[in-house]
């Protein structure tokens, strides 16, 4: 955590903007928004010291719905933007957010290297196993036999396993949460933000429009039966053998975050602007 307020802490409602979310009724992302704002409030942050960075997709609308600084970036490039911001402004709390398509497909390469770099930021993926904004195409986490009008008979492709990939690539904190339990998710997010280094929180967030069967996730999720480990081998075994519905902090390492020494700026903003002028 980078900053803390000296005055009375703000309530979680103070971190919400006046914009009304335009997600589908029943979407899990509403609860994720509540969890994110609750985590900020729990940590007694101030909106002006927090940046929420996203890519493209339904869940990537989230910066607009918070009262913090926000950057709604290019598809799959949220982590690149977030990393740059955190390196340049280490005093800020940076939370990068998006969906499974944005993070694991278009932004898959950035995901790997963000884990490897271990910059002190938190990455939240609202995973609903589908591209919702573009009307229901299969994503990297879609089950191989998920049949829809756009993928008759299913893709037949093995699913991407983000948690174990994050672990192998070097993420320092790995957790799984469920949008249907916003208060526990807020606790997990607060712990992720508080933990130095790259924290990855995958939140199962149902898309009730294109995958109505995900309403059943609420009866499948359960707290992880064991506490978080700092042993990556043990963590890998647990993550690989669970069914994807164990909720909680699954791995918490002690790797030092990457933060290069900042040099002096050689150019002013106006110089850069002139350079890019057409």
């Amino acid at each position: 955590m980078s900053t803390a307020a000296a005055a009375a802490p703000l309530t979680w409602q103070a971190f919400k903007s006046d914009y009304k979310p335009i997600w589908c009724p029943g979407c899990g992302d509403y609860s994720v928004l509540a969890s994110v704002t609750k985590a900020f409030a729990m940590l007694e942050l101030l909106p002006e010291n927090v940046a929420v960075v996203s890519g493209i997709g339904c869940s990537s609308r989230i910066p607009a719905y918070t009262n913090c600084y926000g950057f709604h970036g290019v598809h799959g490039r949220a982590l690149a933007a977030g990393t740059g911001l955190k390196i340049a402004r280490p005093d800020l709390t940076v939370l990068v957010a998006g969906g499974d398509g944005d993070g694991y497909s278009i932004g898959g390469n950035h995901f790997l290297h963000a884990c490897r770099r271990n910059v002190d930021l938190t990455y939240v993926v609202m995973d609903n196993h589908v591209y919702g904004m573009t009307k229901g195409q299969p994503s990297p986490t879609t089950e191989p036999d998920w049949s829809s009008k756009l993928s008759p008979g299913g893709t037949g492709l093995r699913t991407f396993h983000p948690l174990v990939i994050a672990l192998a690539a070097g993420a320092n904190f790995i957790a799984r949460a469920f949008s249907g339990d916003p208060n526990d998710t807020a606790q997990i997010l607060a712990e992720a933000i508080r933990t130095p280094g790259f924290s990855f929180v995958e939140i199962l967030s149902p898309c009730v429009t294109f995958c109505p069967e995900q309403r059943e996730w609420k009866s499948l999720v359960r707290p992880a039966p064991v506490a978080a480990t700092d042993d990556p081998v043990r963590a890998a075994r647990r993550i690989l053998t669970d069914d994807g519905f164990n909720i909680g902090v699954l791995y918490k390492g002690g790797r030092k975050p990457y933060q290069p020494l900042l040099g002096r700026a050689t150019k002013r903003l106006a110089d850069l602007e002139a350079e890019f002028a057409i």
Binding site: P25, G26, M42, N183
Partner: protein, 180 residues
Amino acid sequence: MSKRMRKPKRKSRSTGWEDFLARAWAMEIEAAERYASFADAMDQHNNREAAELFRKLARIEQLHADQLLEENPSKRAPVLPPGGLRWDGGEGPETAAPSELHYRMQPYHALQIALACEKKANKFFAGYASRTADAKVRKAAREMAEEEAEHVRLIEDWLKRTPVPEKDWQHDPDPPLVSD
């Protein structure tokens, strides 16, 4: 939330007057906020009838919260933790889950959600009354439980006056998932 997801009840929970008031007030406020957000979501999807009903429910819950403060000698709102209160079972007993919504839902469905929430609230206060050792809190919790039971009856009556949706209420002639 599944039964398996529920956490064991905390043994050392405070059952004093302050805790009771904070929980009773927070429960109503959280419910009011949630219904208001449901109304916004329904407005976004042009489901005016459901939006109107959720807004009405939000106003009712806010009224209950205001009444609680009015009856409290200090008249001051309890100070809650910045991230909100922690509840057994995730959220407040009267807070409806966003996953219950559907963009084509009708007032009848909204009332069913409200009915389930009022029943949970009744159960919560009845349980609180049975656990506390404080006579003042017990009396207040019993009163609240009775009040919530009255709300259950009111909503059941409301449901009787509300048209029951047709079987295919979810059918959308212009569905979101299409491939031409």
